[in-house]
């Protein structure tokens, strides 16, 4: 193999590497080693054909990244793993960024409801869902964890019902957010099906 050929192979691989950002180093090394091995096996019959039949390095890398996102999300439904995948997706696309924002919002609100239910027995006078007048005639609904001392000026809405309702709403939010995130990742992956599978 000529020097020129080796350089072209490494140039192709480094383009793949650039588009694999977000994946861990070990996986990236493994992917590049495998592609190099494939190209070296096919190079004697023509390097041009070998590289062309792998497709563009960017498209190839994109398949790894989206497959990786989905595989991770499928293997684990834990919100932390899903958020981890979404962070990586967000670093790749605007769509990923918005899905990440939405999911953080969903998990955050879900966690707040669950915490509220759990803290109610310890801070019965200050924890709960409150309607708080804002002074200008309007009022705002506020979920209070009750860790900061005095009870707010306003009316508490649910009383002890915050425990079952908070747990139910919180868990529902976490589950719905997980489903929403997985659904989005799947849609994204489907839209990324290359023109020639």
């Amino acid at each position: 193999m000529s020097n020129d050929d080796s350089q072209r192979i490494e140039a192709y691989l480094s383009k793949v590497r650039r588009s694999l950002r977000g994946m861990n180093d070990q996986d990236v090394r493994e992917i590049l080693d495998e592609l190099r091995s494939h190209i070296l096996d096919k190079a004697p019959a023509g390097l041009d054909t070998a590289l062309a039949s792998l497709g563009s390095p960017e498209e190839l890398a994109r398949q790894y990244v989206t497959d990786d996102l989905l595989a991770r999300a499928e293997v684990s439904r834990s919100p932390l793993r899903i958020l981890d995948s979404l962070f990586r997706w967000a670093s790749l696309s605007v769509a990923g960024f918005f899905v990440l924002l939405g999911s953080i919002g969903g998990y955050f609100l879900g966690a707040a409801f669950i915490l509220c239910a759990l803290l109610k027995p310890f801070f019965p006078r200050t924890t709960g869902l409150w309607v708080i007048p804002d002074g200008a005639g309007d009022s705002a609904i506020s979920l209070r964890l009750g860790l900061t001392g005095a009870a707010p000026d306003g009316r508490e809405l649910l009383g002890w019902w915050i425990i079952p309702i908070g747990l139910a709403v919180g868990c529902a939010l976490v589950i719905l957010t997980t489903r929403f995130a997985l659904w989005c990742v799947r849609q994204y992956r489907r839209s990324r099906v290359p023109a020639h599978a």
Partner: protein, 124 residues
């Protein structure tokens, strides 16, 4: 507005190939371990599933992440190591399930589309 017919059929065919590729890879590995290029050659000689070789490697890595295949690097006479894939127990199980599903599915599809093949002969 109606989408042009050929494009629709092309996209459908791409999805179909892509959907089958996973099962085809599990089947290719049924008799023992192979490296990527061997899997590709086997699929190419037995089917017209492969259009872009680049599709197979990301899919292999996904199958590995799902625990359906395992891999090991083996030194070769060619002077560079090759990454061999083998089915795991879970991969075998999944392969059997998918094959059974495929057989049922294709039998019922064949019955369903039988009337389409009658009359005008048209190559899709």
């Amino acid at each position: 507005m109606k989408e042009p017919e050929p494009e629709f059929v092309d996209k459908w065919e791409v999805q179909l190939r892509k959907g089958c590729l996973e099962l085809a890879i599990l089947a290719a590995l049924w008799d023992g371990k192979l490296y990527g290029l061997e899997i590709l050659r086997r699929l190419e000689s037995a089917s017209d599933l492969i259009v872009s070789e680049g599709t197979v490697y990301p899919l292999l890595s996904r199958l590995k992440a799902l625990g359906l295949v395992e891999s090991e690097w083996v030194e070769s006479d060619a002077g560079h190591p090759r990454k061999y894939y083998a089915l795991t127990a879970a991969g075998r199980q999944r392969g059997r399930e998918m094959a059974a599903m495929w057989t049922r599915f294709s039998a019922s599809m064949s019955r369903l589309i039988a009337p389409l093949g009658k009359g005008k002969k048209e190559h899709v």
